[in-house]
Amino acid sequence: MVTVLGKRVRLFRPHTIWIRKIVQWFFFLFIVLIAVNHTLAESGSAIPILSSASLHAVCPFGGVETLYTLAASGLLVKKVHASALVLAGLSLLLAIFFGPVFCGWICPLGTVQEWVGKLGRKLFRRRYNHFVPTKLDHLLRYTRYGILVWVLYVTATSGTLIFEAYDPYFALFNFWSSEVAPTALLILAATLVLSVFVERPWCKYACPYGAVLGLTNLFRVFSIKRAASTCKADGACSIMCPMNIPVDNKSVVRDHQCISCLECTSEAICPVAKTVVFTTGVIK
């Protein structure tokens, strides 16, 4: 804390995990190109060197949705391909070691919400991402598990991708196609509007795949850890956390909502070296 013009102001280093932004851009453009090329392929004018796979083929959640059908009948749910199972396996492997890095580093829908959130941060500054009352926010964060159970149930009983009609990710990269249901477009619009007030609202409250990967936070190998001995308790880590996790009062972050973005660490916002770190070891 420093005093500026008679007011005590908390100063944060403007560090951020810049390489995460690059990775996010990469995967966003990657999915955009695949989605566009898929549309071009349907009219016979695909760009040859690019994949023209459907979005369902490159969405790991499809691999989760089809698990029951695969186990029960040996078949994949309609529209889901084996590649979705591979991606689900790889994302789970990453999550077991590093937490839901898929959410924080790869998922293009999360990236877009972050981009929209920048507008909210400019508009509302410190109030941004703190509009929802704490108790309500805490409760709402469990709705994504309910959604996950519902999606798995309806997919298992119908053998079709029912969630496609509600999926904002599918709508985001297919909004020009007649395949997108109006409900999915509405949910996408609501997600983008809410992103102006709340960081990653879809991830926090509704994403069924985030619910799956979020569970790995409870036992993952690498965790966010805080050294109480060197911590200045300035709250920077907690303020910076897009998922509103109170990192500054935890020694190990085991919160089911952590997305491993590393924005709370000493490499980014924490001003004290080696105080908030991403590690397997014990720190004091």
């Binding site: 591979v86 580093w105 397997t280």
Partner: protein, 256 residues
């Protein structure tokens, strides 16, 4: 062990793209349907293709490669007009019957193929419709159990595909009361089975005229079942009246 963002980014790329490369090498990375349905894994039909795995992206040709159903039978059953029946995609049926009021699509094809080929198909909890020609083919040619006969009769609907919107639907027997043995047989002496200008080759097959006989009369391989006999005659320099007389004779024979 402590990790920072740059090694994490590198690991992330290595695992994702390395994993995709390894799975490709192992043949697991498939972003498109192989056009080969999964096989039954147990029971009497183990190893045979499972009709439940037919996808909308399959063509009639893909289906013919895995099941004992020809593209011509499928075009006839689903009233598809195509110069190349084998290349017709199953998912296009939905557009063809969009205005029919019934959902005729991939599930209809799955049911038809399963019953036609005598393979198991679970219809529990599903509302599946079949165009009347498809139901007639099943009732006339497939070996169905009494339960399947009842099911097919119940799900048979009179629908006109978009390209034949100008054609009146053929008068059908009541779905509930139609005896299974009569479903695919011409009703003797009725005008319904008279060869006219709007008769298509598929109608002749339905009326019991063997394909070989039709080919013999026209002196060429069986045309698209959805093609009108009159159109075929004028396109191939044949006299429609002569052709009509010959074909009607065969239809009358089939009635007996």
């Amino acid at each position: 062990m402590t990790l920072t963002s740059k090694p994490l980014a590198l690991i992330l790329f290595i695992i994702m793209f390395g994993g995709i490369a390894v799975s490709s090498a192992l043949g697991w990375w498939q972003t498109e349907s192989t056009k080969v349905p999964a096989a039954f894994t147990e029971g009497d039909f183990a190893g045979q293709a499972n009709p439940a795995d037919i996808r909308g992206s399959y063509t009639f040709g893909d289906i013919a490669n895995s099941f004992d159903v020809t593209p011509e039978v499928l075009t006839q059953a689903f009233q598809v007009k195509s110069d190349d029946p084998a290349s017709f995609a199953v998912k296009d049926l939905e557009a063809l019957y969009l205005d029919s009021g019934y959902e005729i699509g991939t599930n209809s094809v799955r049911l038809f193929v399963a019953f036609y080929a005598g393979l198991p198909f679970d219809t529990t909890g599903q509302e599946i419709f079949l165009p009347k020609p498809a139901a007639d083919i099943l009732l006339g040619r497939a070996r169905l159990t009494p339960e399947q006969v009842t099911y097919v009769q119940a799900c048979s609907v009179e629908v006109i595909p978009a390209f034949r919107a100008d054609v009146e639907p053929a008068t059908a027997q009541s779905e509930e009361t139609a005896p299974e043995t009569e479903s695919a047989q011409p009703a003797s002496g009725t005008e319904e089975y008279a060869v006219k200008g709007k008769t298509v080759f598929g109608d002749l097959i339905l009326w019991g005229v063997p394909q070989e006989v039709i080919e013999q009369i026209i002196g060429a391989p069986m045309p698209d079942p959805a093609q009108k006999v009159k159109d075929y005659a004028s396109a191939n320099g044949l006299d429609f009246e002569t052709l009509k007389t010959q074909l009607q004779a065969e239809v009358d024979k089939a009635e007996k």
